[in-house]
């Protein structure tokens, strides 16, 4: 599915309006941009500028009010919920600010979860990605509650990588970590990008943005630069 010669993500004249009782809110106002494969991009902007809306649209969690979004050249507008869910599972990796691991599952099970949805358990693959994010092997059978914030975020990165996605979408990945741990996570992202991963980081932290190759600034639903 999709053409590897096409941009990983393509937004064309995208508008997103949230209809509210108090009046419609235009979260994104005719936005167009492309993310090429292998890029490491940060999206910055003040609160309420439309960053989160942009992330949910890139993550195929929502559809635009108008305009077109394509993933590797494939428009998502006419995709069913099942197709969009499969797209998220197979081609997009999510990393959240609050790690969002499953408290009932241990590290290996958390990392394997998206893989189990796709093709069943392959513990060797889970161990491979956990080694890639440099998590101590002794922690593999621990539950998230038994890990530090940095360790939990490494597990979350491993979970995002397990299905070998085209794009990693990161929502304030260091927002809940101390500066040292945050730096180590961003170094990990940089390493992953060097190995070919396409990474998009939504942040308002310029330190984080400095790790990326390009920054898209959003103000009032429009791309400022």
């Amino acid at each position: 599915m999709g053409d590897i010669m096409q941009p990983a993500i393509q937004f064309e004249d995208v508008v997103k309006i949230y209809p509210l009782k108090s009046g419609d809110v235009m979260a994104l106002n005719h936005i167009s941009f492309e993310v090429q494969r292998g890029e490491f991009i940060s999206i910055m902007g003040p609160s309420g500028s439309g960053k989160s809306t942009l992330l949910t649209l890139m993550g195929c969690l929502d559809k635009p009010t108008s305009g077109s979004i394509s993933m590797s050249g494939v428009p998502i507008r006419d995709m069913s919920d099942i197709e969009l869910t499969s797209l998220r599972r197979d081609r997009i990796g999510f990393i959240f600010q609050y790690f969002n691991l499953f408290p009932l599952l241990n590290v290996i099970e958390n990392v394997s979860f998206p893989q189990m949805l796709k093709s069943g358990v392959n513990e060797a693959r889970a161990r491979e990605v956990l080694r890639a994010v440099q998590l101590d092997e002794k922690l593999y059978t621990h539950t998230p509650m038994e890990l530090s914030g940095g360790q939990q975020q490494r597990v979350a990165v491993a979970r995002a990588l397990i299905n070998d996605p085209d794009i990693l979408l990161c929502d304030e990945p260091t927002g809940n970590l101390d500066s040292k741990t945050g730096a180590s996570i961003m170094e990990l992202m940089t390493e992953l990008n060097k190995n070919g991963a396409t990474i998009i980081v939504v942040t308002h932290d310029t330190t984080v943005a400095n790790y990326t190759n390009r920054t898209i600034r959003i103000v009032d639903g429009c791309i400022a630069s």
Partner: protein, 398 residues
């Protein structure tokens, strides 16, 4: 089967809540199944005492309206005066042949057992000795009547009055109607359509005729041979005897039995339905717990959906939880209902010999299945709601 694993772990982590939910189902299943067992055992107990007379057709004088009286006499009169003449008996006998027609006389009489004892009142039947084997009167002691003044007594009558084989019973307030010698004690028969012998005396027809100067009968019992239909025999008698006016009432014991069984079936269903109310309450509790489980895990559902979990997979996770509660609760309830059925049968019916029957196994099976179905039904809506949460809203949920 990661969703099965998550469902199990979620129930385990909320052990108290899960156990209480299961307890509700256990109570519901026990209520339904044990009531079913009790009903089935009641039917079996009654059946045992009735089925031995399930091949009888009872003919008695018609007591309603203004039909012909016994012996061709006119007028209605009170039922106490209504009798069947020998001519009518012969007509019945010919109509039902080759089935056996047994003429029976009966009266209620004062009597004394032993010197100086108080008067007692009991029913005396008069039956020709030749028909005793056809009536299937089994004896626990003694033998069938030998001679004119011998009699058989029912087991309850014998027990209550300390009567043994060889005891003498003076008939009448002052023994003016002679004495009967007990030659045998009839085994307990319970409720019967033909002769209720447990608290009665069965004397010979000759003694009865001589003592009471009778030449008519109170009823005729037709013992229908195996392979013949009691309903057909009943119709034959009615056609023969009630051609112009209704002279006799004919009771088909099999039809009456069927009616009794149907009534017991209705009672069992009704009682089980009352037990079902507790199951509905348990179902509401399961529904509530499942809704709580969904509302506590909205964020988790949002994460699952965002990383590629399909709606049906989210739904399956909650259905598994309901199924685990349902299966464990229902199976435990099924086992306990057997114990409860045992206790209730022992206390209310005085016997547990009807516990292991197909009907009881079905009652337990129905209770268990009902418990599982209720749990699944009560889990469907919460599961559907979880599956259809907006992933974005769910992710933002705190």
């Amino acid at each position: 089967m990661i969703f099965w694993e998550i469902a199990k772990r979620n129930l385990r982590i909320h052990m108290l809540r899960s156990t209480l939910a299961m307890l509700g189902i256990v109570i519901g299943v026990v209520a339904i199944a044990s009531m079913g067992i009790l009903g089935n055992s009641m039917v079996a107990t009654v059946s045992e005492s009735l089925s031995s007379v399930g091949d009888s057709v009872i003919v008695s004088p018609y007591s309603g309206g203004g039909g012909m009286g016994p012996g061709g006499g006119g007028g209605g009169g009170s039922s106490a005066n209504l009798k069947l003449s020998d001519q009518q008996f012969q007509q019945i006998k010919r109509a039902v042949a080759p089935n056996v027609a047994i003429p029976v006389l009966s009266t209620s009489e004062r009597m004394k057992v032993g010197v100086g004892s108080d008067d007692i009142v009991a029913t005396i039947y008069g039956v020709d000795s030749q028909y005793i084997p056809d009536l299937n009167l089994k004896l626990t002691a003694g033998d069938y009547n030998n001679g004119n003044s011998g009699c058989l007594v029912g087991s309850t009558f014998a027990k209550d009055n300390n009567i043994k084989v060889g005891s003498r019973i003076s008939i009448g307030s002052d023994g003016e109607k002679g004495t009967l010698r007990v030659t045998g004690i009839i085994e307990e028969r319970g409720m019967a359509f033909d002769l209720s012998t447990d608290s009665a005396i069965v004397a010979t027809q000759d003694w009865f005729d001589n003592t009471y100067n009778r030449n008519d009968y109170d009823q005729v019992i037709v013992k229908v041979k195996e392979g013949q239909d009691t309903a057909v025999v009943k119709t034959t008698i009615e056609k023969q005897m009630n051609k112009r006016d209704k002279i006799v009432s004919v009771t088909d014991s099999k039809a009456t039995l069927a009616s009794i069984y149907a009534t017991f079936g209705t009672i069992t269903t009704f009682v089980s339905a009352i037990g079902g109310i507790s199951m509905v309450v348990a179902g509401v509790s399961i529904f509530n717990i499942m809704m709580m489980s969904v509302s506590e895990r909205i964020k988790e559902i949002g994460i699952m959906r965002s990383i590629g979990t399909q709606k049906k997979e989210v739904m399956s996770m909650f259905i598994y939880e309901a199924a685990i509660i349902g299966v464990i609760g229902s199976v435990v309830g099924g086992i306990l209902s057997i114990l409860a059925g045992y206790a209730i049968s022992a206390l209310m019916l005085g016997t547990t010999k009807y516990l292991i029957t197909t009907a009881n196994a079905l009652s337990v099976g129905e209770g268990v299945c009902f418990g599982i179905v209720i749990c699944l039904a009560c889990g469907i809506y919460p599961a559907w709601q979880a599956a259809n949460l907006n992933p974005i809203d769910a992710l933002r949920h705190e």
